[in-house]
Amino acid sequence: MAVKRDVLVIGAGLAGMRAALEAKARGAQVTVLSKVHPVRSHSGAAQGGINAAIRPEDNWENHWFDVVKGSDYLCDQDAAEILCKEAAENIYELDRMGCLWTRDEKGNIAQRPFGGQGYARTCYIADMTGHFIQHTLYEQMIKNDIEVFEEWYAVSLVTANGHCTGAVALSILEGRLEYFQAKATILATGGYARTYRTTSNAIANTGDGVAMAFRAGAPLEDMEFMQFHPTGLYGVGILVTEGARGEGAYLLNGQGERFMKRYAPEKMELAPRDITSRAIQTEIDEGRGIDGKPCVHLDLRHLGEKRILERLPQITSLAKSFVGVDPVKAPIPIQPTAHYSMGGVATDIDGQSPMPGLFAAGECACVSVHGANRLGGNSLLETVVYGRRAGRAAAAFSKKATAADGGDETLRREEAFISGLLKREAGESVARLRTELGDTMTAKVGIFRNGPDMAAAVQKIRELKKRYSGILVGNGDRVFNVALIEALELGSLLDVAECIAIGAVTRTESRGAHSRRDHLTRDDANWLKHSRFRKQGDEVALEYRPVRITKFPPQERKY
């Protein structure tokens, strides 16, 4: 028995919840599916803050320029304009919903400086900004009585005549599949940095929505641009917020040197993330890590105990729990960590994909507001600004559309696939394949890249895809089958990783987070364009789309 709704939202982090609230406010019947409970979503792990020009001395046009420059001129400038222009009203709206904001001495919403920006415009609450916004939006979900299917894992979009008409999802608790028919479907499934071995991302960030869109025939965009956050906890990759450097923390190499002066003399520790991560990796590669280990130090000690505990309580406790370091007393060992997916499902400025009926918002979408490198504090902003826009557009779309059927075939196909996995008695381990994938991506499609390595990565991923067809779940139970979910997630990771690697090996330039040793400079003549990825049989077909430049002509990018 299919569930029939106007708007189906898949994923319940910030973008998904904001989209659902907006669609419902505009009169649509809304259902939300999420493989984790909404408050478990990874938006809650965002620490440092959310950007908005809200001071009289600042203005949204400055923010806009910072975004465009930070993106290495690859973002679509009209999309970035909307992001910056609508920022302030979204901050105030969250305040009215009950979100807490840290205030300054005058009682205004406090702002801290973040990388690559000309003004301290990152609003925050301590170092738990994502957490507080996430719980605020969840409160609004309860207040507005929005239907949520918690712990339902979407396995496939359903299409009819090239339109998206909903999705088939698996109940994790019960093990049964259901067709969720919808006139408009919004993907809000987050990023896919779990393709990498060392990552700040949650175990759940496996790019399921992006992979589903790709398989259904919708184009992906700019997949080669993966952001490495400069400061992941050494060994585990867990995020240490840019807010630490915003508060004044230093980066020190094994010789105790503030090495950023050699890479970004003006911005120092507050250079954009791509530049800072490359600087750290260079120090490590050239033997200036800490005691020969692949890490450098993030030193907070001079900030003093009071400020550290007040502004950065979460990272203090994370450093204690995971690397045994009290940041009040000792520097934190850190290394760059795969963090944010600039690419995703291609959308317009209303979150609509080229496939009618399919929308995307947040990290799983590529609008594109971040281009080749996202600035810190803009991901939370994108979730609320574009979550809202996607919700509005999807509600409007659903009023005109008539839901076509077409779920039965998808349902049968997915059921056959899953019951096949559950029955299989021998095969290769999912964990082993996933480890090989992560090692390949980190080693060969990482911070510094080159043609031969990336070509080898593409071959390796194709080999892993072949081996994937013979994987073993090893658990035949339908109820809460973690091994089954991990097997399905690995399928997403492989599809997404193939696009990342193909996009990266093809783009013969260095731009933003995509940095090639064999093509050192940006090449606007040939590569000032978005990559688009479409599934063609078992192949990935590449197309290109021009960048929308409405105000700022590309310049050399220096900090």
């Binding site: 205030r103 964990a431 091994a483």
Partner: protein, 317 residues
């Protein structure tokens, strides 16, 4: 590296009798209990079920009982516990139904949370930006706002164990998030709601919630602040508030607790209900005969000084 004995609670529809499976797992320094569970899942037994996601102590998925105490698996160092106790014992959270193995039915957590009306009720014409919340009030809200809804507190709650209608520590901490928020326009009606059966007065102040919370939320402190606020709002027509007031009144009178007067004061006319009378009669026969009058304590003056300090208007630090 140490080979650790890991005992894991198991239960499923196929194997409905709860039991412990024992695994021998190599545990390295710096590995967490979640790492150990992954070793079991990937190398020993793919049928194991448990929740987790962020593995950095913010999503709240992986709370479970580890060596007898509810906590997050992802930020609990495994080796420390193995060295202390000689093994790991991993069980599901208490006070929630087990779905499979370590995965519990969280609806028992979300239902009471939703029952406290957990969203800000705006005043009619809210300003563009709300007024800043003063220091200590803000800190109190920030602390309850830190809650990651992992249900470790509900698992250890000694009231929930005997009374399923109790809202529980996390839901009440969430309630305080709005009672304590000067922007909220419904403080009194909230306090009325929370003063009902299953609410703030049903907590037995055992402190377990404060003790086990991995985020330092201190739900008990929030509950006690709401009790004070409820009395300040004149919401005293319930046995919980009456008990508190009667308790205080007897101490004020003589410097010590008078159990008989407290009981009568708490129950009001309900004291004479047949059920209560029979309890009283049985207690009386068993020799429990609290006196209605008691002598004023020698140090009554000192007690009164303490009471005055407690009653004095609070100053912000």
């Amino acid at each position: 590296m140490v080979e650790a004995k890991v005992k894991v609670f198991r239960k499923s529809t196929k194997d409905p009798k709860a039991h412990l499976d024992v695994f021998h797992v190599d545990v390295r320094p710096a590995q967490t209990v979640l790492d150990v569970l992954h070793s079991v899942l990937y190398e020993k037994d793919p049928t194991l079920s448990f929740r987790r996601s962020c593995r950095s102590a913010i999503c709240g998925s992986c709370a479970m009982r580890i060596n007898g105490r509810s906590r997050l698996a992802c930020n609990t160092q495994a080796l420390e516990l193995v060295e202390r106790d000689g093994h790991l014992l991993i069980e599901p959270l208490k006070n929630l139904r087990v779905v499979k193995d370590l995965a519990v039915d969280m609806s028992g957590f979300w239902k009471p949370l939703k029952a406290v009306k957990p969203s800000l009720i705006e005043p009619k014409d809210p300003p563009k930006v709300s007024k800043p919340i003063p220091g200590r009030e803000f800190d109190n809200l920030k602390i309850v706002g830190d809650c990651i809804m992992c249900s470790a507190c509900l698992s250890e709650c000694t009231v929930k164990e005997v009374d399923s209608s109790y809202l529980g520590p996390a839901a009440l901490a969430k309630a305080y998030r709005f009672v304590g928020d000067p922007r909220d326009a419904a403080t009194k009606s909230r306090l009325e709601l929370y003063s009902r059966h299953g609410g703030i007065w049903d907590c037995d102040t055992c402190l377990m919630c404060n003790e086990v919370c991995p985020m330092g939320v201190k739900p008990l402190d929030a509950i006690l602040r709401m009790r004070e606020a409820a009395i300040e709002h004149g919401l005293v027509d319930n046995s919980g508030a009456r008990h508190a007031l009667a308790f205080a009144a007897t101490v004020e009178r003589t410097g010590r607790l008078n159990e008989a007067r407290t009981a009568i004061g708490s129950l009001g006319s309900g004291f004479f209900a047949p059920g209560n009378l029979s309890i009283t009669a049985r207690a009386f026969l068993k020799g429990k005969r609290p006196r209605l009058t008691s002598h004023r304590l020698k140090g009554h003056k000192d007690v009164m000084r303490l009471i005055e300090i407690v009653k004095a208007p609070r100053r912000s630090p």
